[in-house]
């Protein structure tokens, strides 16, 4: 009789597994259709650098080079220049005449963000960084200043 019991138990388990898979079948897929649908990221998600401006259009960066000093991999290169008092680029005495980020070295640690006294450099949500040539990984100041439109939705923390 234990044979019969074993068979019945087996049938029970098989039936249960079938119900489990059937439940999965009627559940909508969890896949994100990525290029068409945005990916959900957390607010503090760190991707590519961005240089920010004040609302009056002046650049926040004052060319202090603290980010360059803080960078553990030496990915950031800043050259400062004196502001022209007639047509200032930034509110301080100096501004960054050259601001380059080498994405091949960057480890997206966010130390530059922390070091910046005026919150000029931030790691934004733009994560689609593939380029066709190596030169494309060297971001110039113009590219960093351009506003980005990352293909993400920001989820609750």
């Amino acid at each position: 009789m234990s044979r019969v019991g074993g068979v019945l138990r087996g049938i029970d388990w098989i039936a249960r597994s079938f119900i489990v898979t059937l439940k999965a079948f009627v559940t909508p897929p969890v896949t994100v259709q990525y290029p068409e649908q945005p990916i959900a990221v957390y607010p503090r998600f760190r991707a590519r650098h961005e240089l920010r401006r004040y609302e009056n259009g002046l650049e926040r960066c004052i060319g202090c080079c603290l980010c360059e000093a803080a960078c553990p991999t030496g990915a950031i290169h800043v050259e400062a220049a004196e502001n022209d008092p007639e047509r200032p680029v930034s509110p301080g005495e100096r501004y960054a005449s050259v601001y380059e980020v080498n994405l091949m070295r960057c480890v997206f640690c966010g130390d530059c963000e922390t070091a910046c006294p005026v919150e000029a450099v931030v790691l934004g949500h733009e994560f689609e960084l593939a380029v066709y040539h190596r030169d494309g990984f060297l971001l110039t100041k113009e590219e960093l200043l351009k506003p980005t439109h990352p293909n993400v939705i920001v989820r609750a923390e």
Binding site: V7, I14, S17, F18, V20, T21, L22, A24, F25, T27, P29, V30, T31, Q33
Partner: protein, 333 residues
């Protein structure tokens, strides 16, 4: 006009059948991948064209244009013969499956079955086991231990499971009193026999899973032990032929099961509109294939000793008991 009935009509029917089957095979792969995807909470292929309908075409083109490689250590003739021997029986099974009632085409009364053989069930059994030759010859000719082991497993599995399958078929034969699949579908059976036949469906379906080498009995190609089993040394169109044979076996098995257990092409309004017959048959086959995929999504692969033990110590005696009860019932009722 004898030659029309003897040559043209069967020729056209065979051609249509083969074309439909090969297209059906291509879209069956898509169907399986999509359904399996939904079972695993993903979408499955949906990139090529709408709903991924271009994927089978892309797969076929890729397979056709692959380089023909024949490894140096294989037995060339048998190596090439293997896939052919696998696919021919898979296609040939359909010759006796009734697709629908006779329809009137251009003044001819055309029965929708390629050949109404009076030993149809025997034919199915014989041709289905011929498919083993393709597998074992391919595995042998590949001259590779994984291929050979896969082929051996495949053949012993098929031999073992053919026994309970045959016994269940004999039981059905006792109830219907005919071997012809056409007659089995057409003749009315008392309701208690219908119920009794359907009671055997889980047993029969298990043997069918093993015969077609489908999960959870896909031992011939256990990826984690045998690379790809008997297909290991095959590539390009020859691999595609094996793949095709496997899926055609699945369609054929579904067609046979539907014919024997679920009334084949029967359905509402078939009497008024005979063309509905093939539609009902196709729908029923799709349901059966859904069941195949459902089983694959639900059950893990069994171990080899479990496979044979299950067959010899459970399926075989149970089907014998089924046969005995059927025989007594047929005599008494």
């Amino acid at each position: 006009m004898d030659w029309i009935n003897l040559i043209i009509v069967p020729g056209v029917k065979a051609l249509v059948l083969v074309v439909v089957l090969l297209t059906g095979f291509a879209y069956l792969t898509l169907f399986e991948r999509k359904v399996l995807g939904r079972f695993q909470l993903r979408y499955g292929p949906n990139r090529a064209w709408r709903f991924g309908l271009g994927h089978p075409i892309a797969d076929a083109l890729k397979m056709v244009f692959k380089e023909e490689i024949i490894p140096g250590h294989v037995d060339k003739i048998i190596y090439v013969l293997g896939p052919v021997l696998a696919i021919v029986p898979a296609l040939a099974i359909f010759a006796v499956v009734p697709i629908g009632p006779a329809i009137n085409l251009f003044g001819y009364q055309v029965p929708l079955v390629l050949a109404d053989v009076n030993v149809g069930l025997l034919y199915v059994l014989a041709i289905a086991s011929l498919g083993t030759y393709g597998v074992i010859l391919g595995g042998w000719a590949s001259n590779n231990k994984y291929s050979l082991l896969g082929a051996l497993r495949s053949s012993s599995q098929m031999l073992a499971y053919e026994l309970p399958m045959g016994i269940l078929l004999i039981s059905i034969l006792l109830m219907t009193g005919t071997l012809s699949l056409v007659r089995i579908v057409e003749q009315p059976l008392p309701w208690y026999f219908r119920v009794w036949i359907i009671a055997a469906f889980p047993l029969f379906f298990t043997t069918v899973l093993a015969e077609t080498g489908r999960s959870p009995f896909d031992l011939p190609e256990t990826e984690n032990e045998l690379v790809a089993g008997y297909q290991t040394e095959y590539g390009g169109i020859k691999f595609a032929l094996y793949y095709m044979a496997e899926y055609l076996h699945m369609i054929a098995a579904s067609a046979i099961v539907v014919t024997l257990f679920f009334g084949g092409w029967h359905g509402p309004f078939v009497d008024q509109l005979p063309i509905l017959g093939p539609v009902y048959l196709a729908l029923k086959i799709v349901c059966m294939i859904f069941l195949f995929v459902w089983v694959r999504a639900s059950l893990p692969r069994v171990r080899y000793d479990q496979l044979l033990k299950f067959c010899w110590t459970f399926l075989f005696p149970v089907s014998l008991i089924y046969l005995a009860i059927t025989a007594v019932a047929v005599v008494l009722l």
